[in-house]
Symmetry: C2
Subunit: 427 residues, 2 copies
C-alpha cells in the first residue's frame, strides 16, 4: 500500500492558514514556522540534505500583512529585532507524504510545537485543507444532516431539541419522567448534559433503559421515535460497552465530549457505531477565546468531521456565552461548507435560544439544516412546554415563509405568547 | 459496585483552583462558575430541588482577590457592572458522586463550558485535586522514574537522550544508521520526532525493525539496551497494532502525541501496554500560552498522570521556545509532586539543552530524576558525538558533586570543549 500511496502523495499537499503576530521580518518568521513543523530544527542538522529538504520541507505559500499592533498579544516572544510588531496571514503547505494519512499526525503537524515558537507573540490556526484522498481513511460523518433527518423524520425545518436539566443530580426515573414530558410536548431531540455520564445517582444503564422505554412507548403510539443523545464519554472500553448497550436498547444517537475523549477515541467510535455521533465541544473556549492563539472553529470542525462526528455544537445567535453572532454564523457556515466530498455535520445551536432567533438565524444561514436546542425557551413558555415547542416551530415556519414575526404571530398564539414573555426578558 | 462507591463518594470531593478575571462581584462570579459546572444552568430549573442542590451543587471553597487590571485580558466578556476588572483565585469543589470516577468527565467538569462564560474576561485552570480512591480506576504511571531507570540501567544521574533529526524525511535505514551513531556515542535514550509516525518514506514497521536490530546488536555487545521511544500516534487500531509490533521487536518505550491522540486513547494504551508511555505535549502552547486562559501545567500533568503517562515533556531551562525558566522549573516540580499515591512521571527536558544548564537545573530541582534531551548540544560538540555525551555526563557529575563547572572542566576536556564552543554561542 505504501508504494502506491507514495506515488499519489508526492503530488498532494496539506495546507494550513494562520494568523500570526511577530516582531521578526514576516518572511523569516514564516520560514521558521515551516522549518519547525517539517524537517527542520533550530539549526540545520547533518542529515538534512538538499534533496530531503526539497522533498519534505514545508513551504510558505502565502503571506499577507494584516496590521501593526502596539503591544504583543501574548507574553514570551523573544526578538532581537527592533521592527514593529506585525500581524499577518501565513499559509504553509506540506507534502502529504510527510506524515501520511493520519489524523493525529495531521493535527500535530498543523497545530504542534509552533504555538510555542519564540519569535511569535501569537499564532492561531485559522483553517486547513487536506487532499481528497484523505477520505479513503476518514470518510467523515456517516449520517450528517440527511441521515439525522431520516432517523427523526423531520424535514424542512430545524430539528428542535432540548437538554435534560438540571445537569447533574436527577435519578434515572426522574430523567425518564422529564423525557416523557419533553417528547409529549413535541420535541424531536433530547440530549444529556455534558456533565451527565455514569455516576452513582444516575447509572448509565438504568438511565438509558428507563429513558428508552419512554421513547419506545411514544414511538409505538405515534410512529415516530424522538432522538436522544446519551453521553457515553469515558474510557475506551467503557464507551464501547455503553455504545453496545445503547444499540441493544434501540437508542439512535450517542454523545461524546470531543475534547476530553480525544481524536483517536472518536475515530474508533465512528468506525464502530451504527448511530450518529453528537459532538459536544465543552472546553472549546480554551482553544479559541484568545484572539491570536489556538484554533478557529473553521479548522476545529474539520478535525472532527475527519473523525466522523455527525453533530457539532456551535452556540446560537444572541447566546448567553461570550461568543458574538458573527462568530456563531461563521461556525454554522463552516459546518455546511464542502470538505473533501464528506457529508456535512449538523450544526447544533443552543444557549439562550427561543423563538426570537429563528428569523435572523435563517436569514444568515439560508437553510434549516440545523439542530435548534432550547432550554428555557421551551420549558418556561407561559402556556407550557407544548406551547413552547409550537412557538419554535411557528417561528421557523415564519422565517422560511419570510413572513415577519409580528404578522405571523397574529394567527399563532403560542408564538405571540413567546414573543411577549421572552421578548420582555431580552430587554 | 455503584452502591458501595456511592457511599464513599458522598464524602469525597473534586477540587479545582482557577485564576479568573471579571468585572462582576467576585462572589457572584464564582457562584456562576459553580452553577454552570454542576447542577445549574443560567436559570434555576423546575427539577432543581433544594435537596438536589445540596447534594450536587459545586461550592466556592476559597476566593482571593489578586489585583485590579486596567483592561480585559480577553474579548467577549459581558457585564452590566461598572465595577473594576479584578483578577482572583477561585477554588471550587464538587461531590465526586456528580460524575463518578471517570477521567474525561472529570476534565469536562473542571475544564468545560466555563471558559466561555460571559461574565469572565479570563479563566485559567491552575490545579486540581481528586480523592485518593481515583487510584482504583486510574493507577497512574506504571513505570515512572524507577521503572524507566531500571529499563535503561541508569542511576544517580539524568537519563541522557536525543531526538532523531531531521524530523521528517529519513528512510528507515537512515534512521537506524543515525541510531547506531547515537548509541555508540553513549546515549541512554532516543526518541522519534513528534512528526514521525507511519509515512511512505518511513513505514513504521521498517523503521522499528531496523532500529531495534541496531539496539539489539548494541545490547548483545554491551549488556545494556538503550531505550527508544517510537511514535505510535494514530487511530486506535493502528496504535494497538504498532504497539504489539513494538513488543514483538523488543522495544522498551512507545511515544504518543498526547493532545492529538486524546485522553481516552491514552488510558486505553496504558491499560494495555507493558512498556513506558513517553508523552509528547505538542500543541501545548495552545492550552497555556495566554496568561488567563486554558490550563497551567500543574493541572495538565495531573490529567496525563491519571491517564498513565510515564514521561512528559516540560522544556528545559534557557530553552529556545517562549517559556521562561521559572515556568520550566515549576513544571518539573509539578511532575515530581505527590498525587494520590501514584508514581511520578519522569519530566523530559529538551530544547537548546547542553552541558551548560545542568548545574542550574540541579540546583533548582535537587535531584537527577529527569530525562535530559540534547540535540545540537551533543551532535554539534566540536570533538564529536561521543565527546558530546561525555560533556553532558560530566556537567551533571559536577552539578551533583556541587563542584563549579569552571573547576570540574579543568580535568574534563569534553566538558571544557563544550563550554568553550556552546558557551560562545549563547552569548
Amino acid at each position: 500500500m505504501h508504494e502506491n500511496l507514495s506515488e499519489t502523495m508526492s503530488q498532494d499537499r496539506i495546507k494550513a492558514t494562520y494568523l500570526v503576530e511577530t516582531a521578526y521580518d514576516l518572511e523569516q518568521a514564516a520560514q521558521i514556522m515551516a522549518g519547525e513543523q517539517s524537517c527542520g530544527t533550530f539549526l540545520r542538522t547533518p542529515g538534512e540534505s538538499d534533496s530531503l529538504r526539497a522533498n519534505h520541507l514545508a513551504t510558505v505559500d502565502h503571506l499577507q500583512k494584516v496590521a501593526n499592533v502596539a503591544a504583543p498579544s501574548l507574553p514570551g516572544a523573544r526578538s532581537k529585532s527592533n521592527g514593529p510588531i506585525q500581524q499577518a496571514y501565513v499559509t504553509l503547505s506540506w507534502p502529504l507524504a510527510n506524515v501520511g494519512i493520519n489524523l493525529s499526525s495531521l493535527v500535530s503537524t498543523i497545530a504542534g510545537n509552533l504555538f510555542e515558537l519564540a519569535p511569535f507573540s501569537g499564532i492561531k490556526l485559522l483553517d486547513f485543507e487536506v487532499p481528497d484522498n484523505y477520505i479513503s481513511k476518514y470518510p467523515g460523518p456517516a449520517f450528517g444532516v440527511a441521515g439525522t433527518r431520516r432517523l427523526v423524520d423531520v424535514y424542512n425545518r430545524p430539528i428542535i431539541g432540548t437538554i435534560i436539566k438540571p445537569s447533574v443530580g436527577l435519578t434515572p426515573q426522574q430523567s425518564a419522567m422529564q423525557t416523557k414530558q419533553l417528547v409529549t410536548a413535541g420535541l424531536d431531540f433530547i440530549k444529556d448534559d455534558e456533565l451527565q455520564a455514569d455516576s452513582p445517582h444516575s447509572p448509565f444503564e438504568a438511565r438509558v433503559s428507563q429513558t428508552m422505554q419512554v421513547l419506545q412507548d411514544y414511538a409505538d403510539a405515534t410512529g415516530r421515535k424522538p432522538m436522544y443523545a446519551f453521553n457515553i464519554s469515558g474510557d475506551m472500553d467503557d464507551m464501547m460497552g455503553r455504545h453496545d448497550f445503547l444499540i441493544a436498547q434501540g437508542a439512535t444517537c450517542l454523545m461524546v465530549n470531543l475534547n476530553w475523549v480525544g481524536i483517536s477515541a472518536v475515530v474508533q467510535l465512528s468506525r464502530h457505531t451504527a448511530i450518529p455521533i453528537h459532538g459536544h465541544r465543552c472546553g472549546w473556549g480554551m482553544f479559541n477565546r484568545a484572539p491570536v492563539l489556538g484554533m478557529a472553529f473553521s479548522a476545529y470542525q474539520k478535525i472532527w468531521r475527519l473523525a466522523g462526528v455527525d453533530h457539532i455544537h456551535t452556540n446560537g445567535i444572541r447566546n448567553k456565552f461570550c461568543e458574538d453572532d458573527a462568530s456563531v454564523i461563521a461556525s454554522i457556515k463552516a459546518c455546511q461548507s464542502d470538505f473533501i466530498g464528506q457529508k456535512s455535520p449538523m450544526a447544533v445551536l443552543s444557549s439562550g435560544q427561543w423563538a426570537g432567533q429563528a428569523a435572523d438565524t435563517f436569514s444568515a444561514i439560508g437553510n434549516t439544516d440545523l439542530m435548534y436546542l432550547c432550554g428555557g425557551g421551551i420549558v418556561a413558555h407561559p402556556a407550557g412546554m407544548t406551547a413552547g415547542v409550537k412557538s419554535i416551530q411557528q417561528a421557523w415556519q415564519a422565517a422560511t415563509d419570510q413572513v415577519p414575526l409580528s404578522t405571523y404571530s397574529q394567527n399563532h398564539i403560542e408564538l405571540r405568547q413567546a414573543m411577549e414573555f421572552f421578548g420582555k426578558l431580552e430587554m
